[in-house]
Structures are given as structure tokens and as C-alpha cells.
């Protein structure tokens, strides 16, 4: 069964002249690792916020169409109910952490829901371990790096044990190495815990390899949805302004010149290197 399903979703922010998302119909199956990308302003951030009800409850405005997340209709349920099923991690690490110690931050959601202290302790420790920050749990959020802060944000969402974790450009402020570490954590949660992941990113060179369900948006609409290998080989995608990974571009250039590369479009440097080693043996 689909864990997220939307039908003709259209939303306009109050006071805006045109809708931010138009007629969006997507289906996400349980356990998938979905990647959403597109040029700035394409609506991907707005779409993320429909998954836990921030749109329309927090932002007001009218949301047309249907949306079901973890079997719940977000239009008729509070965001705090959705929070138990969908966790949202935002772009700016600093503005998601409000407590004076990391473990108190990770416990925040559980405290809000009224979980008992023993159970809370268990879940917090588990989340801290899953994200590799158990050792720094007593530090204050201001003392740690951006990469660590984002891991705290992920842990605090993970502690609620949601079925889905949505991450809106979580590595924008991080250097490539810290970004890679974050993606590894997310990938591990997806593979080992079976958590459905929805990642919004520009940096396809770092993330395309994790997904088999790519959604490309432009001007509020879903332009392409499906196999990333197909979509990223498509000239139209590149012309839309999506940053195709260099390895993929090189592959296309070489194939055009007649090099005997397999038909499987590579999404990472490892894949391309393997293909080249074969072709040039």
C-alpha cells in the first residue's frame, strides 16, 4: 500500500498571485528512498510541507485535492498527530534545535506527546545511537558543527519512530564531506529500519545513487517521475536547469561518440569507472 498518495494537489500561499504546487499526483510506496529535485521555486519545499500538514494548517491558505499520509488525511488532522508518522528535517540546522542540551532536544517530540520517562530514555538513546551522536548527547547545540546539528535534527525526528522522514535540502549549509555523512545516515535508516525517506536536494552528484524513485518538479508541477537513470539521461531534464551528475554527463558524451558502454546510465563515479574499466579492457 502506498504510504503517501496525493491526487491533484494544488496550493496557493495566502497573498500569493499563483499557486506553488499545481495538480501534483504522486505515489510513494513504503520503504522507498525518494529524491525530489528541480530548480529553485519549483514547489518542492511546499510539497514537503504538505506531508505533515504544515501546509495548510500552519501556513493557512487553501489546499485543493487529496492527500493521504500513512493512511491519514492530513487535511482533517492536526500537525501534531501527523508528527508521529512523518518527521520533517529542515534546511537550517541552527533553527531546529531549541533545547540547552542535545538529548533534551532529541526528547522534545516525545515530551510533547507525553511518553513516559523510561520509554523516552530508551527511544532517545536509540535515536542518538542510530545517528552516531550518543557521545555528544550532553553538549549544547551551539557548541557543535553544522553536520552534527543536522544529525541531532534527524535524531529528534527519528525518536518519534515515524514511518516517513522528509528532509528538505538538509545539507545546504554543510560542506560536501559532512553532507555525504548525512546521506549515509539517512540511507542506513532507509535500508536497515525500513523508514521511507523523501529527500529534497540539488546536489544530484551526491544523492542520485541512493534512489530508484526520482521526482523532478518545475513551476509547481511534476515534470518527470520514475527511474532516475532514464530521467537524468533525458536532454529535457538538463535543459530545465537540473544539475545532472558529471559522471552521467560524461557517460552520455562518450556514448554519443560511439564508445561501447552498456545501456545502464551511471549515477555515480563508481558506476562509470566500472563501466569504463570494462569497455577499455
Amino acid at each position: 500500500m502506498a504510504i503517501i498518495e496525493t491526487k491533484n494537489l494544488t496550493y496557493t500561499y495566502p497573498g500569493a498571485t499563483k499557486p506553488s504546487i499545481v495538480d501534483v499526483s504522486i505515489k510513494v510506496e513504503k520503504g522507498e528512498f525518494v529524491l525530489i529535485t528541480g530548480p529553485s521555486g519549483c514547489g518542492k519545499t511546499t510539497l514537503c510541507r504538505t506531508f505533515n500538514g504544515l501546509v495548510p494548517h500552519f501556513y493557512q491558505g487553501e489546499l485543493k485535492g487529496e492527500i493521504t499520509v500513512a493512511g491519514i488525511d492530513t487535511l482533517t488532522h492536526h500537525t501534531y498527530e501527523m508528527a508521529k508518522h512523518v518527521g520533517l528535517v529542515f534546511q537550517n540546522p541552527e533553527n531546529q534545535l531549541f533545547a540547552l542540551s542535545i538529548e533534551k532536544d532529541v526528547a522534545f517530540g516525545l515530551e510533547n506527546v507525553g511518553v513516559s520517562r523510561e520509554e523516552m530514555r530508551r527511544k532517545v538513546d536509540w535515536a542518538l545511537n542510530q545517528t552516531g551522536i550518543y557521545d555528544i548527547r550532553e553538549r549544547s547545540p551551539h557548541e557543535i558543527s553544522g553536520g552534527q546539528q543536522q544529525r541531532v535534527a534527524i535524531a529528534s525526528v527519528l525518536a518519534m519512530e515515524p514511518e516517513v522522514i522528509v528532509l528538505d535540502e538538509p545539507t545546504s549549509f554543510l560542506d560536501p564531506l559532512s553532507a555525504e555523512k548525512i546521506f549515509e545516515v539517512i540511507y542506513k535508516l532507509n535500508k536497515e529500519q525500513g523508514i521511507t525517506v523523501i529527500l529534497v536536494e540539488h546536489r544530484l552528484d551526491l544523492t542520485a545513487k541512493y534512489t530508484n524513485h526520482l521526482i523532478v518538479m518545475d513551476e509547481g508541477k511534476v515534470r518527470f517521475e520514475g527511474d532516475p537513470r532514464q530521467i537524468l539521461s533525458n536532454e529535457e531534464t538538463r535543459l530545465m536547469g537540473v544539475g545532472i551528475p558529471k559522471a552521467t554527463l560524461l557517460y552520455q558524451m562518450l556514448k554519443k561518440e560511439g564508445l561501447n558502454l552498456p545501456d545502464k546510465t551511471p549515477l555515480s563515479s563508481e558506476e562509470l569507472a566500472d563501466q569504463l574499466l570494462e569497455a577499455l579492457k
Partner: protein, 273 residues
């Protein structure tokens, strides 16, 4: 010319951010300063317009020590675009925002009018002349901040992490823009950790770690040196990653340009046949 002679700098909280840095930047150069967070990159560039003065050593802009000038007078020639445009924007219209620095520097009203029009044009913001900067999108606000610095035509431009949060199209426009600045013989210094962006521009690269310079040279060489990259926690550009794995085929390792990569591979195939 910007010159730093063995400078040391410690923040008020006693942390020593620069531990003996020396560098010379000629007019018209394009330099990318890279390194981990906390390596001292931003601290270093803040010495170039006098925002920070060294605890030891000297910083000379066109031969004059920065300790002898105010930030305002140094800023006249060294324009600094900060990472977050929202830290600068405060005016009611984009026009006023761009005119702000011009007024501070004492430009005449007619000149201000011309400069504002020129800057708006350069960054495709003409239609927003009378718009409030707060109503613009993130990318547009970044352009307004850039326009407000370009307006007074400084000979040196410092860009602090200009690619953060930008999509592919915006980064491409930025790259074109820097090339344009270079044709106008402007010195461009950018602080960044965006390896792919630097790989595409291939400028002179300065690598920093723990307050010291660990490498200074051609982007191509530095960005493909695994020992250096490991030292400063930087990732290899994707093309270089591919070529690192093709070492067994006798390929060079210092390839970061996609067209060069294509040529090398095709030639190798030709030689096989």
C-alpha cells in the same frame, strides 16, 4: 594588490584563528580559498577590507597597511559580499538598497542614479527597481546584495560562500558572472567549499587547515591530490573520482574538466583499436 605578511589573528575569546599566514594576490587574479569549517578562511578574507586587523604581521592593500585605514576607506576598493543577503538588506526599495553604499562613499546624486541603473541591469533586476527587497525570492535577494556591492565598482570582489542554497542554473550564472568580472580585470576572491563549482572554474586555489595555508596552486593540481584533500576534509570532484579509479589503465589523475576527460578516454580507445 593584496598582501598578507605572516599574519596571526586571535579572536577575543582567545582562539587563534590564523597562525602565520602569508599570501600575495595580484590584480585581476581569481582565487578560491577552501578548507573545512573553522580552518580560518572567513577570518583571512575579513583582513582584506580591514574588518579584522592582524594581531601580528601586516596586511597591505596596494602597498598601504590596513591598520592605517578605516574599513570604509578600504571597502571603497575591496567589495565584500557576505554569505547571507538578509544580513544586509534593510531598505524600502531595491533602488535604495543599491544606493546605500554609494551614499556612504559620498557619490553625487546624478552619479548614484547612473550607477544604480547600471547595477540593476547587470544583474537583471531592472524590473524590481521599486520593489521591496523583502518581497523577492532567495536567489533574487542574493542578486540584490551582489548588485549593491558592484554598484560602487570596487577593483576587488570578495564572495563569501556564494553557492550555498543555489540551484544548478544559479551557480552557472554565477560562474559566468565571475568570468565577466575577470575580463574587466577585477580581482575575485571566493571562499567556498563547493568542490564542483571550483572544478568548473579552475582558479588558483588556496587550501587552509587549522589557521594555516597547506597548499597554494593551480586548482587542477590541488583538487586531485588525495593526500591534501584528506588533510583538509574535502571531497574529490566527480570527474577526478572517476579517473582515480582508472589509474590501472594508465590515465592521469589530475583531470577535473569533463571535456578533457572525454578526450583522454576516446584517445585511449583509439589506441586500443
Amino acid at each position: 594588490m593584496i598582501e598578507a605578511k605572516d599574519i596571526r589573528y586571535s579572536y577575543p575569546n582567545k582562539v587563534e584563528a590564523l597562525k602565520g599566514v602569508s599570501i600575495k594576490i595580484e590584480d585581476g587574479e581569481f582565487l578560491a580559498i577552501m578548507g573545512q569549517n573553522g580552518a580560518g578562511k572567513s577570518t583571512l578574507v575579513k583582513h582584506f577590507n580591514g574588518l579584522l586587523k592582524p594581531s601580528q604581521g601586516k596586511v597591505l592593500i596596494d602597498g598601504v597597511e590596513t591598520t592605517k585605514s578605516s574599513v570604509a576607506s578600504l571597502a571603497r576598493n575591496v567589495g565584500f559580499v557576505f554569505q547571507n543577503p538578509d544580513h544586509q538588506l534593510f531598505s524600502e526599495t531595491v533602488e535604495e538598497e543599491i544606493a546605500f553604499a554609494l551614499k556612504n562613499f559620498g557619490f553625487k546624486p546624478e552619479v548614484i542614479e547612473d550607477r544604480v541603473t547600471w547595477a540593476l541591469n547587470l544583474l537583471s533586476l531592472t524590473q524590481y527597481r521599486k520593489t521591496s527587497p523583502f518581497l523577492l525570492s532567495g536567489g533574487e535577494r542574493k542578486r540584490v546584495a551582489l548588485a549593491s556591492v558592484l554598484a560602487w565598482d570596487p577593483s576587488t570582489l570578495i564572495l563569501d560562500e556564494p553557492t550555498i542554497g543555489q540551484d544548478h542554473e544559479q551557480k552557472e550564472r554565477l560562474r559566468q558572472f565571475i568570468l565577466q568580472m575577470q575580463t574587466q580585470k577585477k580581482t575575485v576572491v571566493t571562499v567556498t567549499h563547493d568542490v564542483e563549482f571550483v572544478a568548473e572554474c579552475n582558479p588558483r586555489v588556496l587550501l587552509m587547515k587549522d589557521g594555516k595555508i597547506v597548499a597554494d596552486g593551480e586548482g587542477k593540481e590541488i583538487l586531485t591530490n588525495p593526500a591534501l584533500l584528506e588533510l583538509s576534509s574535502i571531497v574529490l570532484p566527480q570527474i577526478a573520482q572517476v579517473f582515480t579509479k582508472l589509474e590501472s589503465l594508465g590515465f592521469p589523475k589530475d583531470v577535473i574538466d569533463i571535456y578533457e576527460a572525454k578526450q583522454i578516454i576516446l584517445k585511449a580507445k583509439e589506441r586500443q583499436l
